[in-house]
Amino acid sequence: MYRLEPNRREFLKTCAAGAMFAGATHKLGDFFPAREKSKVVIARDPLLRGNGSSPDSGQLLKMLDRAMQALYASDSPLEGWKKVVRPGEVIGLKVNGLAGRGNSTNVLLVDVICERLREAGIRQKDIVIWDRLNGDLESAGFRIAARQDRMRCIGNDALGYEEELSTYGSVGSCLARTLTRVCDAVINLPVLKDHGIAGVTIALKNWFGAIHNPNKYHLNVGDPYIADVNMLPPIRQKVRLHICDATTAQYEGGPSYMPQWCWPFNGLLLSRDPVALDYTGWQILEQKRSEKGMKALKELGRAPTYIATAADRQHQLGTNDPKMIERVEV
């Protein structure tokens, strides 16, 4: 009979072997395999916009491809995508449409991601673009499409929320049905920007768009609420990749679009670790603030402490330790 737990003899044998090994090396760290670093890929292209003000979709696709290859250490972008999704799965793309066309997830980015998803074997009808509200999606430039026989684009207000609460730590929320019932896997597509209460809003905070009561969780710089929301099982289990749209980034005045505080970062940030991604994005925003002679977020009382909380022993959603983040620029 298969046993999940070792019997006494096996247990002792393992302990003895471990003790011998540990004694030989004198370092406990060698006994346990080193924790893998979290890779954050920063792809940038100074020619992203060509001569225009909006990104060129061809350049955007190339940048995305470079980033995917780097993140998955693959020979081709498609090989990377095939590690993310499997044919037959329904893939959700959680965009952020709060800031209108000015600084929401770029429609062109979503377009090129959909192109690669299709090449990876995902049927058009199995792609669902979603956010909180139909109105947000429309104002960000998406067209609402609810028919199930084609690619969907739909707000939570249309599909609704679960009636039962999902709870973890400080939060009790009803999750969007798009997340719980429609999608098998989700790719998180946040934007790189400042947040007037939470400090920054990148990958972790984007999940406030998947719950019915985000307004309750902006106290105390969103700490620990943001980390706790990310612990809710459907979010933990279904999110496979984070692609942060940093084509345009905003270092002050968010989450609303404030053009005077935006700059063309012309980039994307990719990671499978939302904490490492948020930490990296936060540093980029702080650097820009410093260049502009603005105070650090900590001095303003809105350092995003929830990032550290998301990394703590209780949450373990990723790492915020710079030594454990492999920053790859392509």
């Binding site: 709060l98 209108g100 939570n156 207000d157 249309a158 599909l159 609704g160 929320y161 679960e162 009636e163 609460l165 709870t167 009790g172 009803c174 049905r177 007037g196 209460i197 019915h212 009561n213 307004n215 309750k216 902006h218 106290l219 005045g253 968010g254 989450p255 609303s256 404030m258």
Partner: protein, 423 residues
């Protein structure tokens, strides 16, 4: 369980899931006159079908029991048909414009600073282009005819009915909230109907309710609607009572007190720590609000929900009673109410009866005249006793008044004046 919960103070009634959304259930409604009256109302609302679905099930009726039926439990799913929300939107009365299209809400002490297109903590007020709007004017998601004792108001027109309404939203987030499915939701996440102030007042009159009660969620967040409805009610001789957590700024509170007739405040604890950790609010503004209502001559009653291990110490009961005596007076009714596991506090048991009786004994010993126990139907402490001769002047079982021995607000045995609003 649902049946039991329907008898709890302040609980918005629950209909069994499935039944709530069955439009055919209207056929089973026993009171055609009620239905036809509501049907006539629908001539003024935009989404007739939605309104009927809401209105038909629940028996807005006055003849079943004093604890009357409910509208359907709100659903967390959205209405499939697009609706025009503009009828619910009015500019907020208390806010301050800030640079860059931000605003600061001045309605409750939280003072949310809100970006364009964002909402405050309450979830029902939104910044549009630098102006602030309530999204819930006339947007009623729960309506019942309740005995006024269910609010609970024991010294305000006892035995009368209150046409009780709520919208979605709340400016705190109590871990024990029994109506979380409306209070912690945004208005578009619950089924609501359009019930403008004059129609609300007319319905209250039609169903012989001498008062409208703003209750279930948190009326502070539908402040503009509440004030307009109170005015409309007064034009028809209908009073207004407010059932609130009291987390409101002084200026809006003072204006509110000019237009309503009684207020019941849920004083959830006597500790700032509890307010911060369990309520997500603050104690001091609530105490300030209580004092203000008293100073302005508003009839006020206080409810204290006793949650095992969290706010049930002798010291806290005593501090509370002493504060009430010093700041409100011994004639303000104080209700110690029994907790049932709800929402995010399902790990605690219901409040033991002995705890409640201990709380009452402490408050009595501090000299408060009217100390009640709530959510314990049949307990002697549901009744009112004359503070002089100690004989029962209002006998209650649950929310039902069984006997009254008051004559013009005085004990009929000893002529002691009993504080309250009796007509």
């Amino acid at each position: 369980m649902s049946k039991e919960l329907n008898t709890i103070e302040g609980k918005a009634g629950i209909s069994p899931k499935g039944v709530a959304r069955n439009p055919e259930a209207a056929d089973a409604l026993p009171h055609d006159s009620v239905l036809s009256a509501l049907t006539s109302l629908t001539a003024t609302v935009q989404d007739r079908r939605t309104f009927l679905r809401l209105a038909s099930l629940p028996c807005i009726t006055t003849c079943l029991t004093p604890c009357v039926g409910s509208w359907p439990r709100v659903a967390m799913d959205a209405d499939p048909a697009p609706t025009d929300d503009s009828q619910f939107i009015v500019e907020a009365q208390f806010y301050e414009k800030l640079p860059y299209k931000k605003i600061r809400c001045k309605l409750c002490p939280r003072e949310c600073v809100i970006d364009d297109r964002e909402r405050g903590y309450c979830g029902v007020r939104e910044n549009h282009g630098g102006s602030y709007y309530s999204l819930v004017h006339s947007r009623v998601c729960a309506a019942h005819i309740d005995p006024v004792e269910k609010k609970p108001l024991f010294h305000f027109c006892p035995g009368s009915l209150a046409f009780s309404v709520a919208t979605a939203g709340c400016n705190v987030n109590c871990k024990f909230c029994q109506n979380w499915d409306i209070s912690q939701a945004r208005p578009e996440q619950v089924r609501s109907t359009y019930l403008p102030p004059k129609e609300l007042a007319r319905l209250a009159q039609q169903y012989h309710c001498p008062a409208i009660a703003y209750t279930y969620s948190e009326p502070v967040i539908f402040y503009e609607y509440m004030r307009d409805a109170a005015d409309a009610g007064h034009e028809l001789g209908i009073k207004s009572v407010v059932v609130t957590g009291g987390y409101i700024q002084q200026e809006p509170l003072k204006k509110l007190c000019q237009g309503v007739d009684a207020i019941k405040v849920d004083l959830k604890s006597f500790s700032e720590k509890y307010y911060k950790e369990v309520v997500n609010g603050e104690l001091k503004p609530v105490l300030d609000a209580l004092v203000t209502t008293r100073k302005l001559g508003m009839w006020s009653e206080i409810v204290y929900l006793v949650v095992p291990t969290l706010n049930d110490s002798d010291a806290e009961f005593r501090a509370l009673a002493q504060w009430v005596k010093s700041n409100m007076g011994v004639d303000v009714p104080l209700h110690f109410s029994r907790f049932y596991p709800q929402y995010l506090l399902t790990n605690l048991p219901p409040t033991p009866l002995e705890t409640l009786e201990r709380a009452k004994a402490i408050a009595d010993s501090e000299g408060l005249h009217y100390v009640y126990l709530g959510n314990i139907p049949g307990h002697p402490a549901e009744s009112t006793y004359c503070p002089k001769c100690h004989r029962m002047v209002i006998g209650r079982i649950g929310f039902t008044v069984k006997e009254t021995h008051l004559r013009k607000g005085k004990c009929e045995y000893c002529q002691q004046a009993i504080a309250g609003v009796w007509q």
